[in-house]
Symmetry: C2
Subunit: 297 residues, 2 copies
């Protein structure tokens, strides 16, 4: 059985006003639909600007339940265009418990599943530990079954961890997907900016190769000022990309403008590649228990 | 304290005759010494041609104990040039137990430690499961302390496994080192050959990024015929490289000729990078126990 799917990622600018962000997303989703896309991947927290540049209690007002306005927007888009959509919300689960959550909608607009970001970053201008409770063991690292395949959806900071990618692969994921919002500090040198951007691409490409899985990594673009005025803001670096199951680039947005990144994925190639280079046969699982240690002193 | 070391890898052709291989290695080691190298990394099984292209009992005659002729050669070279050397042997541990083993010699020629290849490949023309017993839990994935730093030495097929790299990092490795013998099947298309070579580079670069560690990956060059005459032999693809702790290329041998690959590694940068992007702080170790499963059905 042929299992080729057309996928697209939306690398876009976001606005303070959610309605304006939806409008921009809808423009690009319609474009992808015209191109016959089966699966659309949005970037991280695409309904708003990246509020985590500063710690301010008022930004919790942006949070929404799993069936809030952003979910409704994504659901309607999925149904209208008969495509699977991976979106991202700032989730309000309860008073005092908020998550950074990816949502997956089926072609008929129903929620196929969700993923709550497991690894939460915290470094200057990315103060996520203030806003987001880490995902707990349900759903944990669990791929989401859809009509286009089993999707290993994680979020941004997760992309630096081989463990998450491997757990998704061991649970049968057929694609690894990372909605992202990462950018440059304008005060860094060009050399440092390039090393960071190349590392971001390189580590995810590594997961693609090590697991013989396609990777879809979609990042924000545009400059966003620091609401607190303390820093020079973030220049989101774009460079969204899609790899095939040998880590080969199928598409790479070589710039920081808004764009669709599109590719055809042949999901049957995963098993072909795993027959040539059978890594999964040989994992030394008898030796891997210490991977659950923080450090081995 | 400044902790900059000069490292070199030797990408060379190997011969059936061990003495001839040693001679070639000695030539390049002397060159590295002239350049002031502190640490030399040899490729995998550098004393002989890659005999695993076929399964023949006579090739077990090539195996040596931990203090056999190849070890003696490496020890003498380390002492003569006052450098640390990572070498590789076909080890005879006992009748019926043979390993693919990396040896690390100190500047004074003493054996600092060894590593027995943990993941053993087996695919057409790389019939290693016939020859090599997988390394057991001693020494396992254990970095080797030397005067130039703590070396996370693994061997070839190990390079495809993020778990090995992570375990070495969790045990304090300051450099990941992969002696390798990998090459192309001449019957593959150019496109497939390029995907394979790029995947080989990409997966190891991924370990460098995910662990904020330099990687030294040294591969064989030259064409070697299949002793059994069944296949068209192997074209070892070279492309040895060294990365810094953000995965940035410090050197990449862009060809398949014999060459030294050389770089200066600033080991203090490891901690600087880990302060900018603190992955190790956030690993979800509460969720990683299933990494010890073959597959999660």
């Amino acid at each position: 059985m042929k299992r080729t799917i057309k996928v697209a990622g939306i690398q876009q600018v976001c606005f303070e006003d959610k309605a304006k962000s939806y409008e921009r997303s809808a423009h690009w989703i319609a474009q992808a639909a015209q191109n016959g896309t089966d699966l659309v991947v949005m970037q991280e927290l695409h309904a708003t600007q990246y509020f985590c540049q500063t710690e301010e209690a008022r930004f919790f007002d942006l949070a929404e339940p799993l069936d809030g306005p952003t979910a409704q927007f994504l659901s309607a888009q999925a149904k209208q265009h008969n495509m699977v959509i991976v979106g991202s919300i700032f989730e309000r689960r309860a008073a005092g418990i908020y998550h950074n959550t990816a949502l997956v909608f089926e072609r008929d607009g129903t929620l196929a599943g969700f993923y709550r970001k497991m690894h939460i970053p915290d470094d200057p201008a990315f103060y996520e530990k203030y806003y987001f409770t880490p995902g707990d063991d349900e759903p944990g690292f669990e791929p989401i079954q859809t009509s286009v395949g089993k999707l290993g959806v994680m979020v941004c900071w997760d992309q630096w961890y081989p463990e998450g990618a491997r757990l998704m692969a061991l649970k049968g994921a057929e694609v690894l997907i990372y909605p992202t919002a990462i950018g440059w500090d304008r005060d860094d040198t060009n050399e440092e900016q390039t090393r960071q951007k190349d590392a971001w691409i390189g580590v995810q490409r590594g997961h693609s190769i090590a697991n013989n899985l396609p990777v879809i990594a979609i990042n924000r673009v545009g400059y966003e000022a620091d609401p607190s005025g303390h820093t020079t803001g973030i220049e989101f670096w774009g460079h969204s990309f899609i790899t095939g199951p040998q880590g080969e680039f199928l598409t790479l947005a070589e710039h920081q403008n808004e764009t669709l990144v599109e590719a055809e994925l042949d999901l049957n190639r995963i098993e072909q590649v795993r027959r040539i280079w059978p890594y999964f046969r040989d994992r030394r699982i008898d030796q891997f228990a210490p991977l659950t240690k923080r450090y081995i002193d």
